[in-house]
């Protein structure tokens, strides 16, 4: 069970934090992993800060408790910076992935991270989404970046599974599918670490 990844996603209601966790779980499951994805449910509606989680492992996962010390944290909305402690509970050598156009080094300074062992990754997921899909929906870009950061699976596996999934949903909109795949690929490759 030592190989189990735990991920926490921060977003706003309606922004896709829950979907990002579900997409990652589905892709990882398709790649043969044991997965969990679960949101933290409250009465919040659109716009409120929300959190969701993943567990991903090579062996079956029996834990059904909250993720308290995620090795990986993803932040879908840059406007959270300064208002939420993303690193809460993160262990040594954890990795923080933020959707922002701020370079990673600058972000690290802005966040004033106490723990030097935590790696900070940035990706302009909103910009990548706009460029490739034509809409500022960052979750597939963030998915690509997170797969790279946490080394969940090979990029090709992720692309294959996502394509299959999107084809079911958007079979009449091939450009949308290609745009999402391009966004995933770009985010996977461009994610920056400091």
């Amino acid at each position: 069970m030592t190989n189990m990844l735990e991920i926490r996603w921060h977003g706003r209601g309606g922004q896709g934090a829950k979907t990002a966790a579900l997409l990652l779980a589905e892709a990882a499951a398709a790649a043969g992993k044991h997965v969990q994805a679960f949101p933290e449910y409250g009465p919040e509606r659109m716009g409120a800060p929300v959190v969701s989680y993943n567990r991903i492992s090579d062996t079956p996962i029996t834990l059904h408790s909250a993720v308290l010390s995620p090795g990986y944290v993803a932040v879908l909305d840059p406007t959270f910076i300064g208002s939420i402690d993303f690193t809460a509970g993160m262990p040594e050598n954890g990795a923080l992935l933020v959707n922002t156009d701020t370079p990673a080094l600058q972000l690290r300074e802005r966040l004033g991270l106490q723990n030097d062992s935590i790696k900070v990754y940035t990706i302009d997921a909103t910009g990548i989404s706009e460029a490739n899909i034509g809409r500022p929906i960052p979750n597939t870009s963030m998915l690509g970046a997170m797969v790279a950061v946490a080394q969940v699976m090979e990029l090709d596996d992720l692309l294959q599974d996502t394509e299959r999934r999107l084809e079911k949903k958007f079979h009449d909109r091939p450009r949308l599918i290609q745009g999402n795949l391009a966004a995933i690929t770009q985010a996977y490759k461009e994610v920056e670490c400091r």
Partner: protein, 399 residues
């Protein structure tokens, strides 16, 4: 998410999706249901199956849970395989009809997503809803995860409709934790489920109009007791049937099921007794304790009605101390419902272990490995001590 893509053999599904898929494969003739958090997704998905023409089910979007079970009762008595689903206050609103479904011996299968009962209102998991319905005459099967929810629902049809049983079955999973959590689930092919469950049989179908029957008459002092005695007998027989169905299901899937699941109990000195999703987390803790050289084991109660008292007695009589974890309080002043029943089960065994109760997780309060470990270590201290200090301990509540 498109539904068809979920039809592969293994999929990542939420508990609610797994339940809806099981229902789709069971393919009831009638589903009458009312939405309630956290069950809502099940009825949403099912109505999508109906409106997409994937199932031939007649979907009755009733105006309340009372009517949901009433319509399901009517449909089952008419001669149609019928299902509903609910949670929490919805189950409470069905209360009267729960007893009637069981008393009329209608083999209805109902997923129940465990949620705390009001008040105060809370939408998260505990077992107060189904624990309160233990004596309604339904068979109760608790699921640890989404896979078990799926497996249990399919087996429930066979159990309910067995001619010796003919009782309704509720299959539960923990609200949000399982219902909204996505996990790997292995699905059977549709055809395999169809063959496993067979055709619906109710001997007194109302729609068999050439043979008019009266269902639900008034029975008085001269007959009511006999009807109830027969009902009690069916519950006893259900133990054998559940085992048989669980074994047969194992041949189909490599996942066989019993009344209880013993985890690392072979040489255990201490045991936890748990239901539902917490059993999974507790297994993780047991593994850790075993790594530390501590002889702990776990007993998961899968079937709560009929209550597996004899099996529990056999398994638990070998240990020194037992911690019974209840995700509901019975407000008896003497601990939770499972505690009372486990202790009663231990009365008849020659070597009675110490037995203590941990009430935990009410209203969805998280139960993590640390809390379970603290309870596990706590029962070890009972070894030489007396039980005179509080037998009922609240785990994870602020003092």
């Amino acid at each position: 998410m498109a539904l068809q893509e979920k039809l592969t053999k293994t999929a990542a599904l939420t508990g609610n999706e797994a339940a809806a898929q099981a229902m789709r494969q069971i393919h009831p003739d009638v589903v009458a249901a009312y939405p309630i958090t956290p069950q809502t997704e099940i009825v949403q998905l099912y109505s999508t199956f109906v409106n997409d023409g994937i199932v031939h089910t007649e979907y009755v979007a009733v105006e309340s849970e009372h009517s949901a079970l009433s319509a399901t009762i009517g449909a089952a008595a008419a001669g149609a395989r019928s299902m509903t689903a609910t949670s929490s206050n919805g189950l409470a609103y069905m209360w009267e009809m729960l007893y009637i479904a069981a008393g009329l011996r209608l083999p209805i299968v109902m997923p129940v997503v465990n949620r705390a009962l009001s008040g105060p209102i809370n939408i998260h998991c505990d077992h107060s809803d189904t624990m309160g319905a233990r004596d309604a005459g339904w068979i109760q099967i608790y699921s640890e995860n989404a896979q078990e929810m799926y497996d249990n629902l399919i087996q429930a049809v066979r159990i309910a409709e067995n001619p010796d049983i003919m009782l309704p079955v509720m299959v539960t999973m923990d609200g949000f934790i399982i219902s909204h959590g996505m996990e790997n689930v292995e699905l059977l092919p549709d055809r395999a489920v169809e063959e496993f469950i067979g055709e619906y049989r109710y001997p007194y179908a109302l729609l068999d109009i050439e043979n008019p029957r009266t269902i639900g008459p008034l029975t008085l002092q001269d007959f009511y007791f006999e009807h109830k005695r027969a009902q009690a007998d069916a519950v006893v027989k259900a133990k054998t049937v559940i085992l048989k169905v669980g074994e047969e299901y194992g041949q189909l899937t490599d996942r066989s099921y019993e009344l209880i699941e013993s985890y690392r109990m072979e040489d255990a000195e201490y045991a936890l007794v748990v239901l539902g999703s917490t059993a999974g987390t507790a297994k993780y803790v047991i593994d850790e304790l075993r790594q530390d050289g501590e002889k702990y084991g776990l007993v998961k109660i899968r079937v709560c009605r009929p209550f597996p008292a004899v099996r529990l007695g056999e398994v638990l009589s070998r240990v020194t101390a037992v911690g019974v974890m209840d995700r509901a309080d019975s407000f008896s002043g003497e601990g939770g419902p499972i505690f009372a029943e486990v202790r009663a089960a231990l009365y008849g065994v020659s070597h009675r272990p110490h037995c203590i109760n941990y009430i935990y997780g009410l209203g969805g309060r998280d139960i993590g490995p640390d809390l379970i470990r603290s309870a596990a270590l706590d029962i070890k201290s009972l070894k030489d001590g007396s039980e005179s200090d509080s037998l009922v301990r609240y785990l994870g509540v602020r003092e």
